[in-house]
Amino acid sequence: MKQESIIQVENLTKKFNDFTAVNAISFNVKKGEIFGFLGANGAGKTTAMKMLIGISTPTSGNAHVAGYNVFKNPENIKKSIGYMSQKFALYDDLTVKENITFFGGIYGLSRKQIEVKRRLLVEELGLQDIANELVSSLPLGWKQKIAFSVALLHEPKIIFLDEPTGGVDPITRRQFWEMIYKTANNGTTVFVTTHYMDEAEYCDRVSIMVDGKIEALDTPKNLKKQFNAENMNDVFLKLARG
C-alpha cells in the first residue's frame, strides 16, 4: 500500500553561521496522515518546520510541500497550508467573529465564503454565546480550539501545528486531539510538533529529532518494538541519552 506523499524532504539543512540547526534531514509525509515531529527543545524541530512553511530559506538540500518547491515556490506553499503556533494565533482584542473574518480575509476567501464558514464554525464548536466576545475573555482551551479551526478556514492540504497543546489541561488536550483526528479523516494532512510523549502515541508516524538529525522515524508501535520500550517516553529517553 504505497500512499502518495505530500511532503518530501531530502537532506534539508539549515546553518546559522557555524551552527548547524538542522543537519541533512530526509523524510516523507503521506497524504492524510498525522505526522508527529518530536524532539527536545533546541533539537531543531521549529527551524525545520519554518523551512517547510516557507518563512525560512534552507541552506541546502531540497523539499517539496504540497507539490511546491521550498526554494522556488514558498508563496504557493503558504496558500496550501494552515499554521498554528504554540503562541496564540488569535488576536486578543478582536472578537471571535472578527478573528474569523480577518483570517479568512488574509487567505483570500470572499465575504460570502467567510460568512458560510463562520456560521459552520460557530455551530460546530457551539460558539453561539461567545461569538461576539473578545478573545481575551475566553479560557485557554477555547482559544486553542478556535485558533485551530481558524487555521483550517481556507481548507489547506496540510496543517502545521507547532506545540498546539502547550499549557492546557488533559481534558482539553484530549478534545483537541479529537479535532485533529477529525481533520485527518477529512483528508487533511496533519504535521504536529509536540513534547508530550503521550500525544506521540496518537500519531500515525513519528520522527524524533536529536541535535539537528532525525534519529528515528516509524509508527509508534514499531518504534517501541525497535527500542524495546514500554511507551514513547522511554523511546525518547533512550534516544536523547544516546
Binding site: I55, T57, K78, K79, S85, G105, Y107
Partner: protein, 368 residues
Amino acid sequence: MKRFIGFIKKEFYHIFRDKRSLFILFGMPIAQIMLFGFAITNEINNVDIAILDKSKDATTIEIINKISSSKYFSVEQLINNESEIEPVFKKGKVKAVLIFEKDFSKKLVKENNATLQIITDATDPNTANTISNYTNSILQKYQQEINKNIKIPYQIIPKSHMVFNPELKSVFMFVPGVMTIILMLVSAMMTSISITREKELGTMEILLVSPLKPFQVIIGKVVPYIFLSIINAIVIVLLSIFVFKMPVQGSLFLLAFESVLFIITSLSLGILISTLSSTQQTAMMISLMGLMLPTILLSGFIFPISSMPLPLQIISNIIPAKWFIIILKGIMLKGVGISFIWKETSFLLLMTMIFIAISVKKYKIRLE
C-alpha cells in the same frame, strides 16, 4: 486589495480598543498644543527692569514714568553707568535695561531723533522678545502724543540688543515644533509598538505564514497610522489658526504635502525601530530615548541649533525633525514656496529612503 482592507480594519480595531493608544493618538496632541500655547504666551506682567538715564531731562523722565506706570514693567533699579549693566543682569531679577543716550531731549528737539537702547536678557528668549516689543509700543504711543502739534515729527529710535543669547530669530515658534514632535510620536512610536506587539504575541509569525507578503503586512500596519497622523496634523493646524491666531502664510497644499512626507519619514523610522526590537518595551524605549529626546533637544524646537557646539550642530543634521521644522516655519510663518525649501524636502526624502532600505535589509536577515 480586499485582503488589504480587511487588514486595515483589524488594525483600527486594535487602535480603538486600546485606550492607551487612543489617548496618545488624540489626547496628547490637543493637550500638548494647548499647554504650549497657553504656557508660552506673549503676555508679560510686571517685569523688573533697570534704567540707565544718561540725560535725566524732562523727556526721559516722562518716558520712564510712562513705562513704570504700565502694568507690564516695574522699574526695579536706576543705575548710573554702563559697568553696572552686567552685574544687574547676572543677579537675574532684572530682565531688561533701558539706556537713554546723553542729551536725549536736546537731540530730539535739534535733530528730531534720539536713541533709546533696550538691552534684554535673552536667556529666556521669548520674554526678551516681548519686552522689546512692548517697550517699542510704549515709545510709539508717546511719540504720537508729542508729535500731534509738530510739523517735523520727533523720532525716538529704539535699539534692541539681546544679550546672552543673540540667536532669537527661530526660537519658540512653538506650533511647528509641537506639530513635529507629535507627528513623530504618533507615527514612529505607535507603529514601532504596534509591529513589535505582533512579534511579541506571535501573531506576526502567523501573518508571515499566510499568503500575505511581508511588505503587505508592514504597509497594512502602517496605513492606519498615516490616516491618524494626517488627522492629527489637521487638528494641530486648525487649533493654531483658530485658538492661537497663528495664520498660515504659505500654501496649504504644500503644507499638506510636506506633512505627509514627514509622516512617512517617521513611519519608516518606526518600521526600522520595530525591526531592531523584539518587544514592545524595547520599541518604546528606543522610540523615547533614541528618537523623542534628540528630536526635542536637537531639532531646534527649543534650543536654537546655531548656538549649539559644533559637534551637536553636525549631529542635528541627521535628525529629520530639524528639517521638518525648517520647512514648517518656512511655510507657516514666512509663506515661502517649494523653491525655498526643496533642499530640506530632499533631505527628508533621502532619509526616508535610507530608513526603508535598512529596514528591508534587516527584515530579510531576520527571516533567514
